[in-house]
Symmetry: C2
Subunit: 418 residues, 2 copies
């Protein structure tokens, strides 16, 4: 299968983008293709990489806002999560994929439950995804054994789908919910299988304080001391990292997903120390976190809020300029996940969005990049190609009305079961 | 002229909204009307009130981001502003109105230059606006005389248009750009004419420090000491207000426009102390500020960022919950400006938007209000009625393509003159 995007603007020049299979095969020449997309007046950008989310939590969008973290978790989220079925996760993930397609995200790094059901949804929706079954053992050996068994089984099932664009990942939730033994076992599994590990790290001050009380060291140091950190680890948040921890992350190659909207909404109390992490060359990307704490999956918004938060937190408007926010949102995330995406170039994965700039909020065009980061929202995306397949044209996605109806029904039913 | 919005949801109930002239005349009964709008499946909300903006600065969108405030002003903004013509302001304001219509803002409080040209744009576009010619005398008596003459002349010209929905306002820029004599003269004029006053207050720490150095007191105290503060004053920002100043604002009835996006982008260093101001019952609303420091005029985004910033700054996720952000964005602003808008009710001004919730980011609907504040962007607005006139239906606005082209041309030309 081949696609030609005709007369589209790529980094300032109007050109032709030719896709063969799931890769960009040529840029510049007009060629025959199975599908021809008229890109006239539009701009091609790399699809976004959402480096940390819990996709099926779209079902809990607006279900408990403006609460403190423990009230939110204990009275709102855990009660509904306890009732979650694979079918719920399937429809929640379908809804998340639909929202991501409509806002320009081609790849997402997900951690949740019943991830084989999530994989089925992703397979149907056409996105690229890294899927981790969340592991939470609460220091209970029996529970740990069961959770690891389930996680391994789901890992194998997703692997068994043999789809390039769907990758199973190991998902220990966090140091405060997963025992040292389980973390060590997961490290072993990752070393054996070559899998990525997706976890949460240093999100709240309480996590740091408890870790220091229990282990004598801060969270990143604790993980490093047990040999857990490496370049296959993607750690979400990193709000409370201190300079010594940043150095550890840089040295071990650990990746960090900055989730500014969620951090502000849940009031984690401190912004990820971006400037120091950039200085130390930590590999970073941006994540929306789940829709329960954001409450959308729009990476355009996340780019802007990342830039705003870092400027605010550093008392310096020059920190995290538009170009860096943009690169974090696509190339940074792609690098973190080890995929050839996040750039439009020959031999790269064909994960591309087309934006139509003829809109009031994108006028004038003194600086397109500034417009993407500071002025746009996800609705500026007109067309999406992921893995060489057209998933949206003219903002139309196949099956949209059905997904909205089914996901809404599942969400209503889920909270009514409480 | 009459409008009937049929079968539309208002605060949870499906009903009929009947508009006669520029007011909501009846809610509940189906009636004959000149224009019938099918509201089935849609939700009617009060249009937003943008309590602080510089509309024509849309021309400078993306023209100098990620710079410190003085570099930004001195190398980017002031050089282009020095070249501004009435025609530039006319097209910049047209563009701003177009963007506001497409994102749900029915009323805006504007301060800029050549405001008679802005008024012409607003008249054509159909929005409700409060327009202040910015007064900047830099403590120069000759300049002050000239500026006040110009401002008064433009005030009279706008008044002479005799349009209910366009109100002239007095616009002393800020205490650091306007002399005490001019402030006193403006206070006199306001007392005589009943005009509102639109100014900036306590945006940066430098403003506070300089004021203390020069006058011995903080900015709000200084303004109060010269008899300037009253309930006709709308002060933008208020980032650095201290408790004694908050008490003064509450006592004098001074209104404050919170502009969280601009404050974060320019790194003003501190968030407006919302919780204390709410406690003191200060009348507050939300503003986008100009597109040069935001870089859009989307009040949906501003509601979300206001809630995020306040939670972050107060270290408390319960501060500024969705309902308060929503009310600040419409009723708060309307109250600050003294207009019968910001609520959908009989005898209120017919400033209404219709939102279509059948979208992925607004699914499920556990809590609509949460969806408007935390999940939506301006593009969810399908229909807008302002002052009893339909300005947008199905997201189509008359003359859109022409405005985009002309405003883009004017903006290009403006920077090329440098």
């Amino acid at each position: 299968m081949s696609i030609l995007i005709r007369d589209v603007q790529v980094e300032g020049d109007v050109t032709q983008v030719y896709i063969e299979g799931n890769r960009i095969a040529e840029i510049g020449r007009k060629r025959e293709a199975d599908i021809v997309i008229d890109g006239k007046g539009k701009i091609a950008l790399p699809g976004f990489v959402n480096l940390h989310t819990h996709a099926a939590m779209t079902l809990f969008r607006g279900w408990g806002d403006d609460l403190d973290l423990s009230t939110w978790l204990e009275t709102k989220i855990r009660p509904v999560e306890a009732k979650l079925t694979p079918d719920d996760v399937y429809w929640g993930t379908k809804l998340a994929c639909l929202e991501m397609i409509k806002t320009g995200t081609t790849t997402f790094n997900d951690m949740y439950f019943h991830m084989d059901a999530a994989a089925k949804a992703v397979k149907e929706m056409g996105l690229r995804a890294f899927l981790a079954e969340g592991i939470v053992d609460l220091n209970d050996a029996e529970r740990a054994a069961k959770q690891l068994r389930t996680a391994e089984e789901i890992y194998r099932r997703i692997e068994g789908m043999k789809m390039d664009r769907i990758t199973p990942v190991l998902g220990p939730h966090a140091i405060y919910t997963v025992s040292k033994d389980s973390l060590l076992r997961i490290r072993e599994l990752a070393d054996k299988t070559g899998s990525l590990i997706h976890t949460h790290l240093s999100e709240t001050k309480r996590e740091v304080d408890d870790c220091v009380t229990e282990t004598g060291v801060r969270p990143a140091k604790y993980l490093e001391s047990i040999g857990f950190l490496a370049k296959d680890v993607i750690a979400a948040h990193g709000c409370w990292l201190d300079p010594s921890e940043i150095e550890l992350l840089a040295r071990t190659g650990t990746r960090v997903a900055h989730c500014p909207v969620s951090n502000m909404k849940l009031s984690t109390g401190q912004a990820m120390p971006y400037a120091a992490m950039k200085e130390a060359a930590v590999v970073m990307g941006l994540g929306t976190d789940g829709a329960a704490s954001n409450n959308n999956l729009d990476m355009f918004e996340t780019m802007k809020v990342a830039a705003l938060l870092q400027k605010y937190a550093h008392h310096d408007p020059t920190v995290l300029p538009a170009i860096e926010a943009f690169q974090l949102a696509n190339f940074g995330g792609a690098r973190a996940l080890g995929i050839d995406a996040g750039l439009i170039g020959v031999d790269r994965l064909a994960d591309i969005i087309l934006v139509d700039p003829r809109r009031p909020e994108l006028t004038p065009r003194h600086e397109d990049l500034s417009n993407w980061v500071y002025s746009a929202h996800g609705n500026v995306v007109d067309t999406m190609i992921c893995d060489g397949v057209v998933l949206m044209r003219g903002r139309r996605v196949r099956g949209e009305a059905d997904i909205l109806e089914k996901a809404a029904g599942v969400a209503r039913n889920l909270v009514s079961r409480l």
